[in-house]
């Protein structure tokens, strides 16, 4: 009986975890790309280096506690049309499984944003955000209990403006990653 429960849990967890690797082929076309993949162990490890005394880091620590994974892909292109609907559909098809529901779909000109939530009963078990504009694409997949209000509360911290303008995420100091490519 226990093994059945474990299998069910694993299946549930894997349902929340998306395969963002399908987007990695875009990196060769991108002016710059960032790939951040943090599993539960790495999240705990990284969280241990966040200071509880610093207000910003304490907020981040609070958000991260209990999370199972965070996966991020950010691509910046030189010209428009470097990614297609098919590229995004590869992600969208993964959030059509049981437990997933589309919360928000917003479009304005070339800008587009979609938010998908994974729920298990009344509990939120994950979140996926797809945001794009002409020459930029960001996909975030968070696995574990997370709520939008807490995540949004990071506005004003780590250099994130409280009210972002019309541009997509351009963090001030992206981490040096072996997957990062700058031409």
């Amino acid at each position: 009986m226990k093994w059945l429960f474990a299998v069910a849990l694993t299946a549930l967890a894997s349902g929340q975890q998306l395969d963002l690797g399908l987007l990695d082929r875009l990196a060769s076309r991108a002016k710059s790309s960032v790939n951040v993949t943090l599993d539960e162990d790495k999240l705990k490890f990284a969280s241990g280096f966040l200071s509880g005394d610093d207000v910003n880091q304490a907020a981040a620590k609070n958000i991260v506690s209990g999370l199972k994974a965070i996966n991020v892909r950010v691509f910046e292109f030189d010209s428009p049309g470097q990614f297609t609907k098919a590229d995004l559909d590869a992600i969208r098809s993964q959030v059509k499984g049981p437990g997933w529901s589309k919360m928000v779909e917003a479009k304005d000109g070339d800008e587009m944003a979609e938010i998908y939530m994974f729920s298990k009963g009344k509990e939120v078990g994950g979140l996926t955000i797809i945001a794009s504009e002409k020459k930029e694409l960001s996909v975030v997949n968070i696995v574990g209990p997370i709520d939008l209000k807490t995540l949004g509360s990071l506005g004003g911290k780590f250099g994130i403006p409280k009210d972002v303008g019309s541009t997509l995420p351009k963090p001030l100091s992206p981490p040096k990653s072996p997957d990062k490519k700058d031409d």
Partner: protein, 101 residues
């Protein structure tokens, strides 16, 4: 008869006691012979000490290096985490901005 020593007697006693005396004959030879007969420290003993010192240095050094490596990895993981949360939060706010436009 009196047993009381006068200062002169005491000085004479002292002079006698401290007078220069030649060592017995062959004294130097016997000392030199003993020194040359003394066994040197075995070479393995010195090697063992050197190996132990090297091992101590290696253990302390690798421990310090491991700690440094962990610190660097931790800081890097922390930056990645902050970056990921930043992207997530900004994407969220971009969505909000599109909706409220």
């Amino acid at each position: 008869m009196s047993n009381v020593e006068t200062p002169n007697d005491f000085e004479n006693e002292l002079r006698r006691a401290l007078r220069r005396q030649e060592p017995p004959s062959g004294f130097t030879d016997r000392v030199m012979a003993r020194i040359s007969n003394r066994r040197p420290q075995p070479i393995w003993h010195r090697q063992w000490l050197a190996a132990a010192a090297a091992a101590c240095i290696a253990v302390i050094g690798s421990g310090a290096w491991e700690q440094h490596r962990r610190q660097v990895e931790g800081e890097r993981a922390k930056q990645e985490l902050i970056y990921a949360l930043t992207v997530a939060s900004e994407s969220l706010q971009t969505t909000k901005h599109i909706l409220t436009r």
